[in-house]
Point group: C2
Chain length 231, copies 2
């Protein structure tokens, strides 16, 4: 039987590297999609390229989009990335929120899927760790699926699109365990909002704290390269 | 009472120029959004800039996105734009179809709307002339509205987003009549898929034929600059 094609959103972080491994493990022929969007963490994109190559994807597109034209987020604008405190306020929307980011990412994924004849899109959103982001919720993904199945020539012609979010209900520790079982080399991934050019993590931002906590709780050695050893 | 903000998708063509005039007529403070997407018709974008300025919009963002990375359409790739025949096959999806284009455009509009606090987005889609495009149908717009109202921080905080498609059921002649009544200078707009650098239309592509037919049926003089007078 011929493998089905799937588009995998690949940021180069821990979550999307795990999702890519899951899609491959499920037998899909994978097409990775990454974004250069004026983010501070260009090291993450270098990690995405490395992961795509080492995973043997069938295609990898890096879409160059500039979300800075709209302003408004720590991940793209020149405002300070919070260290520490923000994680505790779980019900609030983090300052690192980017307006409509996952909507834009999935819209591009839809275009890529139609172009390569993919019936499936994989995205590494997580509703537990990122409860504050409206576009990481299951109801958002359901609404996008409904939209996608009305939006394209492929849909009109009967090609149903399915969006997979295999991490959506997992803790970071469970994600690390799942990926480790699938052979993901997390030393290749970059999660830090403030990584240096070599991809070394700050160890202090929300993303670093979440990631480190995941390895600790999973009981798996943390392969992350830190600029200074975490305390 | 303070004017409400609206984002208006502005291509520089006849339809979107009419939509901008409608939004202004309805009292909105308008923010125009255009796309540079590797399209052959860069003259249309120059027209968009001109229209935005002369209409006195409160803001104008030109998003530089490259849909050529995915390939697959006459409007962005190097395949021949059809002359003449395609218009007659109303039930087929035209070769000028761009995968997920309106999904991507509306995703950007959603980001812009959230950034400027707009509760309304205007788009010039038309279900009559472009019946072959899946993402010009009312059910597509309904699905996007539902998505938008789950996708953003603004939505979570109670700011409902409405998508307006005031042309959706109008014929080209009705659009021309409506815009003319609102003072739109259609000589400033470019619809041709194959306009030259000065914005002069070929007179032969589908967009030119539809546009010309609209002026004829509306009984309004066609101000379009053609490279050669239409037969």
């Amino acid at each position: 039987m011929e493998a089905r094609n799937a588009v995998v959103l690949l940021s180069g972080g821990l979550d999307s590297a795990t999702v890519l491994a899951i899609a491959k493990d499920e037998g899909y022929r994978t097409f990775a999609l990454s974004f250069q969007y004026g983010q501070r963490h260009a090291a993450e994109l270098a990690a995405a390229r490395h992961l795509a190559t080492s995973s043997g994807v069938a295609g990898h597109v890096v879409a160059d989009i500039d979300l800075r034209i709209f302003g408004g987020s720590a991940l793209t604008a020149d405002i300070e990335v919070p260290k520490g405190a923000a994680l505790d306020a779980e019900d609030e929307i983090p300052v690192t929120y980017v307006p409509a980011r996952n909507t834009i990412f999935l819209a591009y994924a839809l275009a890529y899927a139609e172009t390569v004849g993919a019936s499936d899109v994989f995205i590494g959103v997580n509703a537990l760790d990122y409860s504050g982001y409206p576009d990481c919720r299951p109801e958002f993904l359901d609404a996008f699926t409904r939209l996608a199945n009305l939006a394209t020539k492929a849909a009109v012609e009967g090609q149903h699109l399915t969006i997979h979010a295999p991490l959506i209900e997992l803790t970071k520790a469970q994600i690390v365990q799942r990926g480790t079982a699938l052979g993901v080399d997390y030393g290749q991934t970059v999660s830090c909002y403030d990584a240096d050019a070599a991809g070394r993590a700050c160890g202090e931002c929300d993303a670093c704290r979440l990631r480190r906590k995941g390895f600790v709780e999973a009981g798996i050695a943390d392969p992350t390269a830190y600029r200074t050893p975490p305390g």
